[in-house]
């Protein structure tokens, strides 16, 4: 049920405290503890072995590349890296958990005590405290058949263990206080920053829609402190944890919904139950999951099959020295280099186009030209096809090539769009499409002169206007010529010829 109370009202009456757990799926070649391929989308149960199926006798061996990725992420989040950290078993029964325990980290996470600067749309910088970033393995995937699609009441359930054992890093924030009505915005910006960092590090493809970055959002409300009193002295309220909020927009929506729901309960004098809730993308609400009364005791203990993770100081410093630029610093630098306005920059960020523009510029295009393509025609096509920009079948190099054809005068705007359309349709690079479709600008003046003369002869009234000094009337002739040449003429050159033939110049 949707709450009647708006987010703004809730924030007006209560002080929010929130925290976010982000699960990042690492893009290592193999799984966390075995040699199976770590790839999304294979046939069910084809990427499995005795280890990730939890067969009797099988034993895990830690993927060192995953450890490296986790440490690099920890360093990017400003974390301390523990000299000796351990894996622990988290014990619970579930069909998708092959061993009926998950190998995770508990009291000795590899990365802890970090902080991350997050830049909001208006340039405000918020520092988020990071509690820990720890490694763990993913579970398999259940599909429940029949009933409502949930495990309860299903006719039967299918389990795909391909995802079982995929390496994850879970990043947990400290409680974030004092954000007031900017809570939803900060939460969104935080997850976006994490996503940008993992993509920048190259340790994850960062695709929220495929679940490779997933967020759980914790939110609680507490009374506002009276004037002059310290808000941080007011104890936290009971929190809900909304699981698997898997898009940036959904994070904002989930916080809006939960804030309204909790505020209504509190105002009605009812308690907020400390519980796990499920995000419902369809109507933007949350529904209750397991309440804490039934909460499981995971009986954590150190994983005896694995040795402690003990990275040398030298190695950690090597990894630190090789870290890429922090996304917010990189953005400030790029904006200056490219000369984009704040609005242009923000749009490019929101469209996830920075890397694409960077690569297009690197391939030779001017920054503004690169931006116009990606944020214009390509954004329109991506939107139409409902896919990410980077999923379009066109590379930054293609766009740079296309722009160079425009710059050289070989293509005009209209032809360039046609060439791009060909590339998007799989006809090859823009140059190849130009050749195959014969999309050359007509640059032979005599051909153009003949077309201009024909158009002027057909519209003597327009000719008269031009000769009368109404130069803008030439547009009608330009249009006629473009039509006659099927758009393959340079409009600027056509205009010059018209004026010359009309004797104006």
């Amino acid at each position: 049920m949707s709450p009647q109370m708006s987010y703004a009202d809730a924030m007006d009456k209560f002080d929010p405290v929130f925290g976010i757990e982000v699960h990042v799926e690492l893009n290592t070649k193999t799984k966390m503890f075995c040699g199976c391929a770590n790839e999304f989308g294979a046939e069910p149960n084809t990427q499995v072995c005795p280890v990730c199926l939890g067969l009797p006798g099988a034993m895990p061996v830690t993927n060192q590349k995953a450890v490296e990725s986790a440490i690099r992420l920890g360093l990017a989040l400003g974390c301390q890296i523990r000299e000796s950290s351990r894996f622990a078993r988290k014990n619970y029964f579930y069909p998708d958990l092959a061993k009926d325990y998950q190998i995770s980290q508990y009291d000795e996470p590899t990365c802890y005590e970090g902080s991350l600067d997050v830049v909001l749309d208006d340039g405000t910088v918020v520092t988020i405290g990071i509690e820990r970033a720890h490694m763990e393995e993913d579970a398999g995937k259940n599909t429940h058949k029949g009933g409502t699609g949930g495990i309860q009441g299903a006719d039967y359930s299918l389990v795909d263990y391909n995802r079982g054992g995929v390496p994850l890093v879970e990043i947990v924030t400290k409680p974030i206080e004092g954000m007031g009505d900017r809570t939803a915005e900060v939460a969104r910006a935080y997850v976006a920053t994490i996503r940008d960092i993992v993509k920048g590090l190259g340790i994850s493809d960062g695709r929220m829609e495929q679940g490779s970055v997933r967020a759980d959002v914790n939110l609680s409300l507490r009374a506002k402190a009276a004037d002059g009193e310290d808000q941080s002295a007011v104890p936290f309220g009971k929190r809900s944890e909304t699981k698997n909020v898997n898009s940036l927009r959904a994070i904002e929506r989930a916080i809006h919904h939960e804030a309204g729901r909790q505020a209504e309960l509190l105002l009605a004098g009812k308690p907020v139950v400390q519980e796990t809730r499920h995000w419902q993308e369809g109507d933007g609400t949350t529904t209750p999951g397991r309440s804490k009364e039934e909460a499981e005791d995971y009986r954590y203990f150190p994983e005896p099959d694995l040795l402690p993770v003990e990275p040398s100081r030298e190695w950690i410093e090597e990894l630190r020295a090789a870290l890429p630029e922090h996304p917010s610093k990189m953005r400030a630098r790029l904006q200056q280099e490219w000369g984009f306005s704040d609005l242009e920059m923000r749009d490019a960020i929101n469209a996830d186009a920075l890397v694409l523009i960077t690569d297009t510029v690197a391939a030779g295009a001017a920054p503004q030209a690169a931006r116009k393509w990606w944020m214009g025609e390509l954004a329109r096509v991506a939107n139409e096809r409902d896919i990410a920009l980077e999923a379009l079948p066109v590379t930054p190099a293609d766009i740079a090539e296309l722009q160079s054809l425009v710059d050289s005068g070989a293509l005009n705007d209209k032809l360039a769009r046609q060439a791009l359309e060909g590339t998007l349709a799989g006809e090859g690079s823009p140059a190849a499409v130009v050749k195959a479709r014969g999309l050359e600008v007509v640059s032979d003046d005599s051909a153009l002169e003949a077309a201009v003369d024909a158009a002027l002869a057909a519209q003597p009234d327009v000719l008269a206007k031009i000769q009368d000094g109404k130069v803008q009337a030439a547009g009608a002739i330009v249009g006629a010529v473009m039509q006659a040449t099927k758009g393959q003429a340079d409009a600027g050159r056509v205009r010059e010829i018209i004026l010359k033939r009309a004797g104006v110049q």
Partner: protein
């Protein structure tokens, strides 16, 4: 006519090399013996005559063709059912795994196959290696060939009994708190628990991961050394496997037998003797000490005060790890499923585990689940780990003063089947002398030191060495064994009563 079943593994290997016998003949002799005595002994859960003979025939063919073969090629072996064998039912003695055919080989199984040793079958054990008598097997107990009314020890009673009943010259065991050494002790055979990490655990169905170790079982120290040589070495599939070269255990045994033990410092562990130890056990132990002195060793005594808490710590750590290791037996992917029809997954899991696990397994799962629970962890599991550290320190201090430590392997000779079945604490005390080595990860050996005069049943002598010094066990064990057999005028096994043979 030679009864080949009475020969040792290395004797068999030499005889094959000399062309005196074929592997098929040896394997068939073992299979015939199994057929003759199994009804009384029940050492095996599964016998694979076809597979064993096929391996044997292939070895014979290669030998006839003059090909180079591993040292133990063609020597038959029995494998404890805790070890996963591809294509061969593996149950770990539990009904919950009844009918499970593994799709892969344990590392040690693969090494046995590479060594070209015919696998006779899988030996009986206490369910998931929990027990000291094999009475907790889901498939009925094994009987001690020295006295069929008595227990063969456990959990590896099947492997030890197969040796003592002349069914196999070699067997593989697993030792979590004494499951190789205690059965060796009560069956008059030799068993070795290697240094933790010395033999890969990959494919050994886990009981308590931080304590489990696979090891060789044989009728002589040198045969055990030869099998250890095959089993040991680094395995990238086991993260706890030691990455270092394997010493020559057979050479160490030969060295000890040939040159004696001059200058060796041997210390008796004060806490592992005295009260609760049977008179005949103590008597044979003392006699062995005299023999060691005669071999040139210096005997002293050390105190390991923390050993008093070893049993208590062990019975917190083991059940804790076991409760987690055994969670995977949930009916979802393999083994038994008790389907209640239309009920929830939780109820199917619960019904399957209720039916598939035996009492001792349930007891330990409950103990471990409790010990790991929030609010109890520090008091139980946490404290037990501290005791473990203290025991490691006791050993470290003791090994400052001595090259090896010794004790009786078990406080008593084998008790009667059923005698301790309803008294878990009495049963647990059988392992009081063997458990400390597992808690510290150090290697230990049990070898026969004679028969207790009061009941004519075998007594075991335990030797412990520092971690990674397994070779020292073979050197000392072989020297003592040579002195003992010289005194007896033959091996102790020669004194075992003849079993009734089925026709």
């Amino acid at each position: 006519m030679t009864d080949w079943t009475r020969k040792g593994a290395l004797e068999m290997a030499d005889a094959m090399a000399a062309g005196e016998v074929t592997s098929v003949e040896l394997t068939q002799a073992c299979l015939d013996r199994i057929a003759a005595v199994e009804a009384n002994v029940h050492a095996f859960l599964l016998v694979d005559a076809e597979g064993a003979l096929a391996t044997a025939a292939a070895v014979d063919a290669d030998r006839a063709a003059g090909k180079d073969l591993p040292r133990l090629a063609g020597v038959p072996i029995a494998i404890k059912d805790v070890l996963v064998t591809k294509g061969m039912e593996t149950t770990a003695g539990s009904k919950i795994l009844s009918g499970w055919i593994p799709p892969y080989d344990a590392t040690v199984t693969a090494k046995i196959r590479e060594a070209r040793m015919p696998i006779l079958g899988k030996t009986n054990m206490d369910e998931f290696a929990m027990g000291s008598s094999t009475e907790h097997s889901g498939y009925g107990p094994t009987h001690n060939p020295w006295d069929l009314d008595r227990i063969p020890g456990g959990s590896g009673g099947g492997s030890a009994a197969a040796l003592a009943a002349w069914e196999a010259p070699l067997a593989i065991g697993s030792d979590t708190g004494g499951s190789i050494r205690q059965p060796a002790s009560v069956t008059g055979t030799v068993g070795v628990k290697p240094t933790y990490g010395g033999v890969s655990r990959y494919g050994a169905i886990a009981l308590a991961s931080s304590l489990d170790q696979l090891g060789p079982c044989a009728r002589s120290v040198e045969d055990a050394a030869a099998l250890h040589q095959v089993m040991g070495g680094h395995d990238p599939m086991d993260a706890t496997s030691l990455d270092e070269p394997l010493p020559d255990f057979v050479a160490a045994a030969q060295e000890g037998r040939a040159n004696g033990l001059k200058g060796l410092k041997v210390a008796v562990i004060k806490e592992l003797g005295g009260e609760g130890y049977q008179a005949g056990v103590k008597q044979r132990f003392e006699e062995s000490l005299d023999l060691l002195r005669g071999l040139g060793a210096e005997i002293t005594e050390v105190s390991c005060p923390s050993f008093e808490y070893a049993l208590a710590a062990y019975y917190l750590i083991l059940p804790s790890e076991a409760s987690s290791n055994l969670a995977k037996f949930d009916s979802v992917r393999f083994g038994l499923r008790v389907d209640e029809g239309g009920t929830t997954i939780e109820r199917v899991m619960a019904a399957t585990r209720a039916e598939g696990f035996g009492d001792e397994v349930k007891r330990r799962i409950m103990l471990g689940t409790y010990a790991l629970s929030a609010g109890y962890y520090d008091a139980y599991y946490g404290s037990a780990q501290k005791v473990r550290t203290l025991i490691q320190r006791d050993f470290a201090a003791a090994f400052e003063q001595a090259d090896v430590l010794v004790s009786p392997t078990t406080p008593t000779t084998p008790f009667k089947l059923g005698e301790q079945l309803d008294d878990p604490l009495a049963m647990y005390l059988n392992d009081v002398a063997t458990i400390p080595a597992n808690l510290a990860g150090i290697p230990g050996m049990s070898l026969p030191s004679g028969l207790a005069p009061e009941d004519n049943l075998p007594v075991g002598f335990q030797i412990l060495a520092p971690a990674r010094e397994d070779a020292r066990l073979y050197r000392v064990g072989a020297a003592l064994e040579a002195a003992l057999t010289a005194q007896w005028g033959g091996s102790l096994m020669a004194q075992a009563p003849e079993l009734e043979v089925a026709r």
